[in-house]
Amino acid sequence: MGAGHAHPLHLDRESLVHRLPPQVKILAVLLYTIIVVVTPRDEFLAFAGYALLVVVAAALARVPAGWLAKRATIELPFVLLAVALPFAGHGERVTWLGMSLSVDGLYGAWNIFAKGTLGVLASLLLAATTTARDLLLGLDRLRCPRVFTQIATFMLRYMDILAEDARRMRIARLSRGYDPRFLWQVKAFAVSVGALFLRAFERGERVYLAMLSRGYTGRLPALEGGGATTAQWAASAALPIAAACIGVAAVLR
């Protein structure tokens, strides 16, 4: 486990956004998403402005557009739901290319697509620029209850244990000549899922008792002072403040 706890969405770069303390980034993304969601759905210019803000933030974080676009496909099931809305919606209907579409459904589809995409892009930027450890540290500094950060800390470490133990058990099966194809692999997995759970638990329990005997009190020691400077707060506040200005300007126009 020496490789640190980089998660699959983390992009190891050196940038202004990567250097910001995690707590200010979490707050900035939260406020930005709230502003996007409360914006009325027919303020199309405001959404263009929000999209521009994400592009600027991605450029500052040196996250490539292709990387973001590929990961944003996590949203696809929701987009599929959105495509169905113009056909299933009620109320006034318009005809387009011979299809009868509901106006409310069209607005609804746009609403889900625009707000969903902007939210996913903002979260992806946070994930790309923050390691799992930093994120937990950030939540801790935002006064998140200790129980949460404790469960989350163990969870992130146990995910590695589970994956490693599953791999070991699979190699053990293969080396005993068990090599089924396709769906028949599921049977071995289903039978061994309980064993996997127990093995992972007993490994984790040993580690936990070792941690307790070395003075673990339910909280990992913070390495540095860690408070954010005023300049850092100001830098990250730029995103939600700019979004709020765009939103207010669009509504008042």
Partner: protein, 233 residues
């Protein structure tokens, strides 16, 4: 069953966010007492396990993605309070690190999956264990039934939220029927995983099954000592 940003309107999202915060505050207060030497690593593992099974999104119908919830498994292994905290930890980390589920819909998601799903699972488990035998098989049957029903009840939480504040007018019976149908199938998958996991744990380490705690008739006060510590002495 993750809800994205913008599917349910801001007012209803805010109301459910407040409800989720209140419910979780109660869980933190009650769960802190439960979280001893044995339960802390177990809570972490249960959360990791739920995280892993939630990565399998079975697409049952086009446009409706579903996945296992894990609430019943959490209830049986770490109890209702810590169980709800485990599921919500998973949801928060998924939202922040994996962009899964909208940040403003977090209150909705926590209410459905962590609060309703776990509460339904807990009531069913507590009720079923009064009549079923407290053996590994009895626990497996309990886990299976509680999972199927718990998942379907949790899915109706989304129906309620959409009825209160859905951003597009859709026919409610269709949504309710689709969600219930899809989640019955998911519930069967979840029931099988819960049943095998709990039965194995109950067979090898019955001390780890929270659902059996009340029925334990162990002489002496070895409650706070884990087997690993006992074997070390």
């Amino acid at each position: 069953m993750h809800i994205a940003n913008g599917i349910v309107n801001a007012q209803v999202s805010a109301v459910f966010a407040v409800m989720a915060v209140v419910a979780l505050a109660l869980c933190v207060a009650r769960g802190r007492a439960d979280l001893d030497d044995r339960l802390a690593p177990m809570a972490g593992l249960v959360a990791a396990f739920i995280f892993a099974v939630q990565m399998l999104n079975f697409q049952v119908l086009p446009g409706v993605s579903g996945h296992l919830l894990g609430g019943t498994l959490a209830v049986m292994l770490v109890g209702p309070w810590v169980g709800a905290l485990c599921v919500s930890t998973v949801l928060i980390i998924q939202c922040l690190l994996f962009a899964d589920g909208g940040l403003t819909a977090l209150g909705l998601n926590i209410t459905n999956m962590a609060v309703i799903g776990t509460a339904a699972g807990y009531l069913l488990v507590a009720g079923l264990l009064r009549v079923l035998p407290k053996t590994p098989t009895g626990l497996a049957v309990t886990g299976f039934i509680a999972s199927v029903i718990g998942v379907v009840i949790a899915s109706q939480g989304f129906v309620l939220q959409y009825w209160l504040g859905g951003t597009t007018d859709l026919s409610m019976p269709t949504i309710a029927g689709t969600m219930a149908g899809v989640h019955t199938l998911i519930g069967v998958g979840e029931g099988l995983i819960t049943a095998t996991t709990v039965a194995t744990v109950a067979r090898v380490r019955p001390d780890l099954v929270f659902a059996l705690r009340r029925f334990r008739t162990r002489p002496g006060s070895t409650a706070g000592v884990t087997p690993a510590m006992r074997s070390a002495t």
